[in-house]
Amino acid sequence: MNAPTPAATPATPATPAAKKPAGRAGRNLELPEHLKAYKGVWVFLEHERGQVHTVSWELLGEARKLADTLGSAVSVVVLGGPAEPLEQFAAQAFTYGADKAYVVHDAVLQGYRNEPFTKGLTDLVNKYQPEILLLGATSMGRDLAGSVATTLLTGLTADCTELNIDPVSRALAATRPTFGGSLLCTIMTLAYRPQMATVRPRVMAMPQAQAGRGGEIMQETLGMVESAIVTKLLDFIADASSNKINLPYADVIVSGGKGLKNPENFKLVFELARVLGGEVGATRPCVQAGWVEAERQVGQTGKTVRPKLYIAAGISGAIQHRVGMESADVIVAINTDPNAPIFDFAHYGIVGNALQVLPALTQAFAEHLSRGGRHAA
C-alpha cells in the first residue's frame, strides 16, 4: 500500500478506489500498476517472398494515428530468414510512419511456422513491452495472433473495423461487427497488456508514404534451434498466377447480385468491368449458387474492397455485403426495388432493371473513354 507522502504535496492515494460498474462484479477492469509501463504501438510486418503484405502498411497507418493520440512511438516487428531483405522492409515501414523496427534474422524463420514465430514475437513483446500490438487478419496473422495472445494471456479482438483510443482510460477501443454484421460492438482490454487486435486487409486505408522518413533498426535474436522445432515446412506451392482475381486491390469493381436473375446475365457485369478495366465482384448468394467463383465474393465473409468506383447491379445492399464495400469512393447502385437498402448508402442510384442499365452504361463509358474523356478536343 502507499505510504503517506510528505506534507509538501497533498496526500493522494496511489490507486483510486476501484470503480466497479454495475453488472461486472468480480472483473478486474483496472490496469495493474506493473502494466502501466507498457508503452508503444507495434505492428507485426507480414511478408512473403520478398513483399510485405499491404495489410501491414494499412495497419501502420492506423498505428501512427493511435500512437500520436497516445504520445508514443510506433514500432514494427520483422521476422525472417538470414538472407531475406528485412532491413528494406523496415526502411519502407519508416516511410509509412514507424519509428523503430525490431528485426530478427534466423534460419528457422525462413517461411512461416507457428512455433518459431510465436516465440520470436512473444519474446520481443516481453522484452520491450508495447501497450498495443496489431496484426493483419490473414492466414498467418490469425494463426500467430491466437497463439501469441494465449502465450501472453492477454486480450485479442479480431477483424476490427475501427481502432480508437478511449479518452478516459487511454485504452484501445476496438470496434468490430457482431451477430452476422447486424450490429457493431466496441471491445476493450482494460486490465491486460499488450492490447492485441487484428484487422482484415483493405478495411483501413493505405497511408501515404513519406519519402526520406527514417527510423531505428534494432537487431534481435531468436535463440531457437531447428531440431527443437517439431513442425517442418516441406514445401510451398505457389498459386497459378495467370488470371488471378485481384479484387481487394482493384480500383474499379462492377458487382452483381441475385437481382440479375440468372448466371448468364453476369456477362453484362463482366462486359462493363472490361470496358472500365476493372474487376468483377458478387454477393454471397451468387457465389453459393455457383454463378461465379468464390474469390469474387465481396462482403463480411468474402473480401473487403476499397475501389474508387463500385457499381452494384441487382444487389439489395444487405449489411453483410455492405460492410465489404462501403468504403468505396463512389458507389453506384442499380436495383428495381426503390426501397432496397443499398440506396441508403450509395452515392448514386438508378431504380431500374440492371439488364438494361448495364449495357447502356457500358456503351456510355466506352464512347466516353474512346473519345478521350470530357476534356478531349
Binding site: E46, E48, G146, L234, V332
Partner: protein, 282 residues
C-alpha cells in the same frame, strides 16, 4: 486412433434480426445450429476414423441446449459427446473459452489418449479464429490452421503431413502427433446421417460436465472473470445522413441517364477519369 472435435452451437446468423427500436438482438425463434465451419473439421475427423478405425469424441462448451448440437454430430457418426456446461463459464471470451476447452480435452485424454484435436476455423458469431490456436498453445499441441488437405497420416511414426492455405499459395507442413487442426471451409463435403445413426443420436446420453468434472483448476480463468476483453458497448451502424442521389429513368432516356451519371461520377472523382483513360491508352 482417438480424435476430439470441438464444436460450438451458434444462433443461425442468417436469421437474426435486430430490434428496430432498442437495437438488441431478437433471438426468439432463431434456430441454433452447429457452427458451420466446425462441420468441415467433423467430416475430416470422421474420414480419418473411417480409414484408421478408432473413436471420435465431440466436445462443446455451452449452455444446456447445446446438447442438441452434440447429438447432431453423433448422428453423423461421432462415438461420444461431452458438454462442458456450468454457469461459471458464461461470458467467456476466447481466452477463457480456450482455457475451459483445453481442460476438457485433458480430461477426455485421461480416459483415452488423444491423437488429434479438431476445431472449426472460426465461429459465425464471433469470427475470431482464436480458440483453436488457444487450445493448442495451452496443451502444447502442434498447431495447423487453415488446412486444406490432410496429405498423409502415419500412426506408426506419429506424424501427419498437411497442406495449409497461405497468402499466394499452399504450405506443405509435417508435424508430430498429437496436434490441433482447423480445417478450411469447403475442403470436404459432410456425409448424410443414416437413419439408424440419427435414431441412436436422438436418444444418446450426452455426458455433461460441470466445472469440477471438466477439471477446471483455476476458477479465475473461466467465464467473465477469465476474459481480458470487455464489450463496452453494442450499437447499430450509424445511418448515413446522405442518401443516394437518384437518377430517374421515367423522365429521361436510358442513354441520357447513363451520360448524366458518368458526368456526375467524374465530377465527384476527378482522378478516376484520368485513371480509366490511362488504362485505355495504347
Amino acid at each position: 486412433m482417438h480424435i476430439v472435435v470441438c464444436i460450438k452451437q451458434v444462433p443461425d446468423s442468417a436469421q437474426i434480426r435486430v430490434h428496430p427500436v432498442t437495437n438488441t438482438i431478437m433471438r426468439q425463434g432463431v434456430p441454433a445450429i452447429v457452427n458451420p465451419y466446425d462441420l468441415f473439421s467433423l467430416e475430416e475427423a470422421l474420414r480419418l476414423k473411417d480409414r484408421f478405425g478408432g473413436k471420435v469424441t465431440m466436445l462443446c462448451m455451452g449452455p444446456p441446449q447445446a446438447e442438441d448440437a452434440l447429438r447432431k454430430c453423433i448422428g453423423y457418426g461421432a462415438d461420444d459427446a461431452v458438454l462442458v456446461t456450468d454457469r461459471a463459464f458464461a461470458g467467456a471470451d476466447t481466452l477463457a473459452t480456450s482455457y475451459a476447452l483445453a481442460a476438457g480435452v485433458r480430461q477426455i485424454a485421461r480416459e483415452q489418449a488423444v491423437d488429434i484435436v479438431f476445431t472449426g476455423k472460426q465461429t459465425i458469431d464471433g469470427d475470431t479464429a482464436q480458440v483453436g490456436p488457444g487450445i493448442a498453445k495451452r496443451m502444447g499441441l502442434q498447431l495447423l490452421t487453415y488446412v486444406s488437405r490432410i496429405v498423409e497420416t502415419d500412426l506408426e511414426q506419429r506424424t501427419i503431413t498437411v497442406e495449409r492455405r497461405a497468402e499466394g499459395g499452399v504450405q506443405v507442413l509435417k508435424t508430430a502427433l498429437p496436434c490441433l487442426i482447423t480445417m478450411l471451409e469447403n475442403t470436404n463435403e459432410l456425409r448424410f446421417a443414416t437413419l439408424p445413426a440419427m435414431i441412436h443420436a436422438a436418444g444418446y446420453p450426452v455426458r455433461k460436465w460441470n466445472k469440477e468434472q471438466a477439471g477446471i483448476e483455476d476458477l479465475g480463468k473461466i467465464g467473465l472473470k477469465g476474459s481480458p476483453t470487455v464489450v463496452s458497448k453494442v450499437f447499430g451502424p450509424t445511418p448515413r445522413s446522405e442518401k443516394a442521389e437518384m437518377l430517374a429513368l421515367e423522365t429521361s432516356s436510358l442513354r441520357d441517364v447513363s451520360l448524366n451519371l458518368l458526368q456526375k461520377i467524374f465530377t465527384r472523382h476527378p482522378t478516376l477519369e484520368a485513371d480509366l483513360l490511362m488504362k485505355e491508352a495504347p
